[in-house]
């Protein structure tokens, strides 16, 4: 079977974050792929709007294993979104963000402030003030958060121009666990909303896009697929399909059946 064609860039209905335009509503993580070549092919195949990146200590096995990553980033020329993964305190987040800004030469930051190591749930009590500090320091903050309406509203209040609630805990692939809260968020908040974390299937991505979310950010569901390149392509198509469906206006679900084939003129029909 020949490889599918790469997903084309979407210029008619771009994702707009902080006034900047992105040609895809899929944001793709770069971790856990079987090889750098597979990562590169997955990016080429899915054409994500941004790719997420991170920072680790030089001289460690992690950093050594990624020695070619910088060259790959330069070669791919896709906008990067550094994260603050693994940070448990606001000061760690702020310093990591400032270091990322210098290394990656970007003001974008995916704010991760972990409150619980078991679920990787964000520290919702300190997330808002941390986001505010970063915004005052000139960052374009995309906060990874829970689906709590008030939390998300407060993040918007302090200047976040987009919010990224989780669908489920990072890396679980469970899909949206709280559809009610996510749909409520979409109804109540006017800023761009991206579902970040917990998606496992293209149908999950399609579903949240059908609900009106503006984009999705995912990593593990692609990286750990048997064929990450094909799965990246599937997610990109699912995101596009969900977005198109949302814009198309879905029919209202009904309880009783309604024949789609005209009844008038049905052969062999007799009035009883």
């Amino acid at each position: 079977m020949s490889a599918p064609l790469p997903i084309p860039l979407n210029t008619a209905d771009p994702l707009v974050l902080y006034g900047e335009t992105f040609a895809s509503r899929l944001l793709l993580g770069t971790s856990r792929y079987p090889s750098p070549q597979v990562l590169e092919n997955a990016i080429k195949q899915s054409n994500p709007g941004m790719i997420t990146v991170s920072l680790r200590r030089q001289g460690t096995s992690t950093a050594e294993a990624h020695s070619g990553f910088w060259d790959l980033l330069k070669k791919m020329a896709v906008p990067v979104l550094p994260n603050t993964a693994g940070c448990h305190r606001p000061q760690e987040v702020i310093t990591t963000a400032q270091m990322a800004r210098e290394v990656f030469e970007t003001n974008w930051i995916k704010l991760e402030l972990i409150g619980d190591d078991y679920t990787l749930q964000p520290d919702t009590l300190r997330l808002v003030s941390t986001a505010e500090t970063l915004i005052k320091d000139g960052f374009k903050v995309l906060p990874y958060c829970t689906e709590d309406l008030i939390l998300c509203q407060r993040l918007v209040d302090v200047g976040c121009q987009a919010v990224m609630p989780w669908a489920a805990p990072i890396g679980t692939g469970q899909g949206p666990l709280n559809p009610y809260a996510l749909k409520l968020l979409r109804d109540r908040l006017k800023v761009p909303l991206l579902v970040d974390a917990g998606l496992g299937l293209p149908s999950h991505a399609c579903t949240v896009m059908e609900w009106g979310f503006d984009g999705v950010l995912l990593n593990t569901a692609v990286a750990l697929a048997d064929d990450p390149v094909a799965m990246a392509n599937a997610f990109a198509m699912a995101v596009d399909a969900g977005r198109t469906a949302y814009l198309s206006g879905a029919m209202k679900a009904q309880q009783s059946a309604q024949a789609s084939t005209p009844l008038v003129g049905t052969p062999f029909w007799h009035q009883s």
């Binding site: 993580g29 990624h66 990591t96």
Partner: protein, 65 residues
């Protein structure tokens, strides 16, 4: 004097700058530096002098989710 670089204790000459220590550990760009949890921009690496017990972090780009 002793400083801690990426959690490893190292003996460095007194009045060593960040650049001196980066040279000592053979840091390879791109990198960024923090001292005692505070970011220090590269424009200050030549002038910023370390002190006994300082904790220096030198980080590099890696993949992320």
């Amino acid at each position: 004097m002793r400083v801690i670089v990426n959690q490893i204790t190292r003996e460095v000459p007194d009045n060593s700058s960040i650049d001196d220590v980066l040279l000592l550990i053979d840091a390879k760009p791109p990198y960024a530096v923090a001292i005692n949890y505070e970011f220090v921009p590269k424009t200050r690496h030549a002038e910023e002098v370390l002190h006994e017990g300082d904790e220096m972090e030198v980080i590099a780009p890696v993949t992320g989710g």
